[in-house]
Amino acid sequence: MDGGGGSRENVTAGGGYTEELHVLAVDDSLVDRKLVERLLKNSSCKVTTAENGLRALEFLGLGDEKRTSLEDNVSKVNLIITDYCMPGMTGYELLKKIKESSILKEIPVVIMSSENIPTRINKCLEEGAQMFMLKPLKQSDVVKLRCNLMNCRS
């Protein structure tokens, strides 16, 4: 799993927010991780990738090894985007774990899938997913994503 380097404050001196989002992207496919990372970086996002749900939870501070200071990674992540179909923990299960956590539940979670299955989509939205995106991802999807997030923030 690769990190994005040092942290950057999201709050400017005047009290406003910068545009930079720190996104945690979770996908078991190497090709898709590379693609989503580039798409997000092209939209001025800072990106951390994880290859499965467990690694993602560890990064977020919910792993087996308890950390004394959870602030580090948690406060940095503004968005989690995860694939639905993953071996072991699915994206849906990851979503549930995040929404069940008092520290993490406010972080928007977006689910991606190559399959357009209405029951799957509804299930995710009902569990609190911010958005559902169909793969393969394109630039226009990331634009839509940012708009969606901005609307929710204001």
């Binding site: 090709v31 898709d32 590379k34 693609l35 580039r38 394109k138 630039q139």
Partner: protein, 154 residues
């Protein structure tokens, strides 16, 4: 060959790959993500795709050779291959995988084996074409030229 001739060859070759259905619009999305700060993006993703596919095709061959075929496992591999080929725009491979999955669902061993042969064939074709395309791009850049993406209007 002069840069201008190479650029022209690149445009013609790329157009033919789209026309013949080897690549679809998703590949253009990848090309759009490549720029001066990420000049090797397409080559990198394509290379990951090759690694991934070769592993999956090998796993599929092994799985279908078994006395008692585990169709769930076969389907899982095909699903992965479908995903990555879709993400890079390798249309023929993706479509072959769609057909392959129906045979998995029917638990039809012969059908699956035929599909595997088809996928291998189409993969091999797209691989050599993408390698040729990338080589041409590298030659253009080495000769001081740029890749004329803007000439790919469809």
């Amino acid at each position: 060959m002069e840069v201008v001739q190479m650029q022209r060859a690149w445009v013609e070759y790329t157009k033919s790959l789209f026309r013949e259905g080897f690549l679809d619009a998703q590949f253009q999305q990848l090309q759009l993500l490549q720029d001066e700060s990420n000049p090797d993006f397409v080559a990198e993703v394509v290379s990951l795709f090759f690694e991934d596919s070769e592993r999956l095709l090998s796993d599929l061959t092994f799985a279908l050779e078994q006395q008692s075929v585990d169709f769930k496992k076969v389907d899982a591999h095909v699903h992965q291959l479908k995903g990555s080929s879709s993400s890079i725009g390798a249309q023929r491979v993706k479509n072959d995988c769609i057909a392959f999955r129906s045979f998995c669902e029917e638990q039809n061993v012969e059908g699956c084996q035929r599909c595997l042969q088809q996928v291998k064939q189409d993969y091999s074709l797209v691989k050599s074409k993408l390698e040729a395309l990338i080589r041409l791009e590298q030659q253009i850049v080495a000769a001081g030229g740029s890749i004329p993406m803007e000439e790919l209007s469809f």
